[in-house]
Symmetry: C2
Subunit: 302 residues, 2 copies
C-alpha cells in the first residue's frame, strides 16, 4: 500500500468547552471545518494546544468518533494518541488507524523521568506491536518543554530502522533549531519533519522538511499557508519575518488561553474562552493587552 506523505500546514486544533467544562463538540468541529477551509492542509487533533491531556481517554475516543461522523476527512488528520501508558496509547492509536486517519502524533510516556534510551525504544515498539496494523503511521512528538522527556535522534533512528513503514516522521516542538536540523538528517529516508514552531517554517522547508504543526495555525492558517506555497519565491523571508512578529505577540500571555480568546472574538462566541484547569481564561485586561500586542505585530482580524 502506498501512502502519500503528509505535508504543509497543520493546526493542533483547539478544543471548545461548555461553561460546565464538558466538551463542546459542535463548536470544536465547526472550528476544525473553518481551518480546513481557510489555510490548513490538515489537522493535528488532540495535541498539546488541544488541551488533549486535560481530556479523559474516553472523551478523546468519543470526540474522534464524532468528528468523523461529521464528515471530517480522516486522511487529513494526525491524531494525538500519546499517553503515559502503552495500553491507553495503543487503544487510541488503534482507533485512529482503523478509522483511516493519516497518522498519529505520539508523545513519549511523560510521567517517569530520566528514562533510558532503550526504555523509550521499547515503549514505542510495544505500542506499535500492540496496534499491529500496517496502515499505522507514527509521528514521534518531541516536545521536551512539556513532556520533559527528550527523544534522542538515536532512538528515532532505531525505531525507523525497526519499523521503516510505520515510523513516518517527527513533530519537533523543542523550540531549538539544532534539534530540528538533526531530525532533518533523516528526510532522505522519506521521514517527514514538522516544526512545532512556525518561526522555523521557512528554514524547515528549505532543508527538506514537511511543514509545521503549529499552535498559531489556529488563528493565522492562511498566513502560514501563503509562506508554505511560496517558500522558494522572492518575499519568503519577509513573510517569515511577519509570522515571527505574530509568534512573539502570542507569547505575551499564556498561549492556549490567548488562542481561545482570539477564536472567541473572531467567532463572536465568548464560550470559546473557557479552558480546563490548570489553564485559566484570560481576564479582560490580559485580553486587551494581548489584542493590542497582536495588532501592533501586524495581526489582522478576519
Amino acid at each position: 500500500m502506498s501512502v502519500s506523505p503528509l505535508r504543509g500546514i497543520f493546526a493542533p486544533v483547539l478544543t471548545a468547552f461548555q461553561p460546565d467544562l464538558e466538551l463542546d463538540i459542535k463548536s470544536t468541529i465547526a472550528h476544525y471545518q473553518r481551518l480546513l477551509q481557510n489555510g490548513c492542509d490538515g489537522l493535528a487533533v488532540f495535541g498539546t494546544t488541544s488541551e488533549a491531556n486535560s481530556c479523559s481517554i474516553a472523551e478523546r475516543s468519543y470526540l474522534l468518533e464524532q468528528l468523523l461522523s461529521a464528515g471530517i476527512d480522516p486522511k487529513k488528520l494526525i491524531v494525538g494518541t500519546g499517553c503515559c501508558s502503552f495500553k491507553d496509547t495503543a487503544e487510541l492509536t488503534l482507533q485512529a488507524t482503523k478509522a483511516g486517519c493519516a497518522g498519529v502524533l505520539m508523545l513519549p510516556p511523560f510521567y517517569y523521568k530520566s528514562v533510558s534510551n532503550e526504555g523509550l525504544f521499547q515503549y514505542f515498539s510495544k505500542v506499535i506491536e500492540t496496534v499491529n496494523d500496517n496502515r499505522l503511521r507514527v509521528y514521534i512528538y518531541h516536545i521536551p518543554p512539556y513532556s520533559m522527556i527528550p527523544i534522542p535522534l538515536d532512538v528515532v533512528a532505531k525505531l525507523l530502522e525497526r519499523f521503516p513503514q510505520i515510523v513516518a516522521g517527527v513533530k519537533d516542538s523543542s523550540g531549538d533549531w539544532k534539534s530540528i536540523q538533526q531530525f532533518l538528517q533523516l528526510t532522505e529516508k522519506g521521514f517527514q519533519v514538522f516544526t512545532g514552531s512556525e518561526t522555523y517554517l521557512l528554514s524547515t522547508l528549505q532543508e527538506g522538511g514537511a511543514g509545521t504543526i503549529s499552535a498559531a495555525a489556529n488563528v493565522i492558517a492562511g498566513t502560514l499557508q501563503a509562506l508554505y506555497q511560496q517558500w522558494n519565491k522572492p518575499g519568503a523571508e519577509q513573510k517569515q519575518a511577519a509570522i515571527n512578529q505574530i509568534h512573539k505577540a502570542l507569547r505575551t500571555k499564556p498561549l492556549i488561553p490567548s488562542l481561545k480568546s482570539i477564536v472567541a472574538k473572531t467567532t463572536q462566541r465568548t464560550e470559546w474562552k473557557q479552558c480546563r484547569p490548570p489553564f485559566l481564561a484570560l481576564n479582560p485586561e490580559e485580553e486587551n493587552q494581548l489584542f493590542a500586542n497582536l495588532e501592533y505585530a501586524g495581526f489582522s482580524w478576519p
Copy 2:
C-alpha cells in the same frame, strides 16, 4: 461522619506484570497481603512505585475491583487517582470513594507546565466538586521530581480552607525536609503529613506527622514499622540511621526495577522482575551489584 485519620507505614505497592506485560493480578494481590501481614498499616495502591502511570485508566479501575473482591480492607487503602485530566481523576476517585477506601492520593495535572496557583486550586476543586461525596478524603501528592508541578503551601492551605472535611493530608516526595516542614505547619488542623522518603520518618513523627508512604516499604516494611512503634523511645535514631543505609543502597540502581528484583528473589518468582516500558528490568550484573550493596548496608533477606 467521623473518620479515623490514617497513620503509620504505607507501601506504595509494586504491580506485577506477566511476561507479555499484562497485569498479573494474582501476584500483585499476594504482595499486598504479605505487606499487610508484615509491617504495613496500609497500602497506597497505584502510586508512582506501582507504575500506575504505566497502567491504563481501565486497568487501574479493574485492579481496584479485583483487590477488593480478594478481601483487601478498603479502610487500609489510599488509592492513587491523579491523572492529567480532571475527568479521569474524578472517575477513579469516585470509584475508590464509593468502595469505602480510606482516601485517595492525588497528583496535580502533570502534563502542562508552569501553571498558576489559581489554576492548580481550580483543578483540585473541580475534581472534588465532580466527585461530590462527603466520604472523600484527599491526600495531595507533592512530588516535583516526577510531576514537575510543585504544589505550593498556599494552594494546599486554600484547598484545606475550602474543603476542610475532604482535604486530609499530603504525601511529600520532594526529598526536601524544608518542604515537609512547611506542610507540618498544617497538622494542628488535623492535616496528616506523610513523608515520601523513609529517611525523614523519625523527623516527620517528631514534628507531628502521620508516617510514611515509602517505596522502601515494599521490601523493609517491618523495619519501618519498628521505628514507627518506637520513635519516641531510646534507639530510634539508630533505627533511622540503619534505614538510611538501606535507602542509599536502593538508589545505586534504578529504584522500581530494584524493588522488583528484591521481591522476585524473596518470592522466588523471577516474573516479578518484569517492568513496563519505559522501565527495564535490571540485568544480572546490575542485580548482583544491587544485592551486594544492600547486604553491605545491613539489609537482611527474609
